[in-house]
């Protein structure tokens, strides 16, 4: 229960961050990806402040055996750069560069009344489901992101 409340708080903070930084507007993100047009470097600044703050959190975690409301830190185990990582990142980048939505902003903007957002999220969930289908057919366990 406490774990869910903490996760709710984290989700709220994440969504507020996307809102304040305007990253929930895909046109803003396309302005960043269009480096040879009227370039908008805002996304760089979002990452430049988010990364060190997150890094502080991971550094604090190193001094603890377990998270406050959980049993273990779930650190991604895989370290090798394989073809799935590369091919997946290419497919994601092409989709991202087409509409300007990545998963966080798309989900966060769901209730803001744009039918394109709902359509995008539905297609994104379908794409994720297709991947899960492949995983189960191939007999592989999905990996944590």
């Amino acid at each position: 229960m406490i774990a869910a409340i903490a996760a709710l708080g984290a989700g709220l903070l994440f969504g507020l961050g996307l809102t304040v930084s305007q990253m929930i507007n895909p046109a803003k993100v396309l302005g960043f990806l269009d480096v040879l047009g009227d370039w908008d470097p805002s996304l760089v600044l979002v990452m430049a402040t988010a990364i060190p703050v997150a890094a502080l959190g991971y550094a604090f975690g190193r001094h603890r055996r377990a998270p406050l409301c959980g049993t273990a830190f779930m650190m991604p185990a895989q370290t090798d750069i394989d073809r799935r990582l590369i091919f997946g990142a290419v497919l994601f980048g092409v989709g991202w560069g087409t509409v300007g939505y990545c998963p966080g902003p798309a989900v966060s903007a769901l209730l803001l009344g744009n039918p394109g957002t709902v359509l995008f999220v539905a297609a994104m969930l379908a794409g994720m489901g297709i991947h899960s289908g492949f995983q189960s057919v191939l007999g592989r366990q999905p990996r944590p992101a």
């Binding site: 984290a10 990806l33 994601f92 798309a106 359509l119 794409g127 189960s136």
Partner: protein
């Protein structure tokens, strides 16, 4: 660079970083949205409540922001519906195949100095920029 909004971008980024730190220190989880959402397809009993709670917070946040008097950015999607669907499929499938997106690889993975995340972020940034360039300056949409 007339659309550059450095102050709000920096403040928003700090909030996203705090969210990632909170989810790690409280729940021991990486704040990767594609993983949190995509794992709903393979639900496990003790692993679902925190995901639903996080996604709930993520969705409610902009509505809450507006209720508290904040001005929401306008959401603009110019692409035709068929293209929106294709892009959604690519983003959903690609982020799961590549084990992460802008949050899981781009923020959390970079903060952990993960070699995989560094590689993935460089690739999806390059692919996104190349796609944008092709669509905007070659196709002209």
């Amino acid at each position: 660079m007339e659309n550059f909004t450095p102050v709000s971008a920096a403040i928003g980024g700090v909030m996203i970083g705090l969210s990632a730190a909170l989810l790690w220190l409280a729940n021991g989880r990486i704040a990767g949205i594609s993983g949190i959402v995509g794992s709903l397809w393979t639900p496990r009993a003790n692993d679902i409540a925190w995901r639903i709670a996080f996604i709930g917070g993520l969705i409610v946040a902009p509505v809450l922001y507006r209720m508290l008097g904040g001005a929401l950015p306008k959401i603009t999607i110019d692409a035709p519906w068929a293209i929106v669907v294709a892009a959604g499929l690519l983003v959903g499938f690609g982020t799961r195949l590549g084990s992460g997106c802008t949050s899981g690889h781009g923020v959390c993975g970079m903060a952990r100095l993960s070699r995989r995340s560094l590689t993935a972020t460089a690739i999806f940034m390059a692919a996104g920029i190349a796609t944008r360039f092709a669509l905007r300056h070659l196709v002209g949409v």
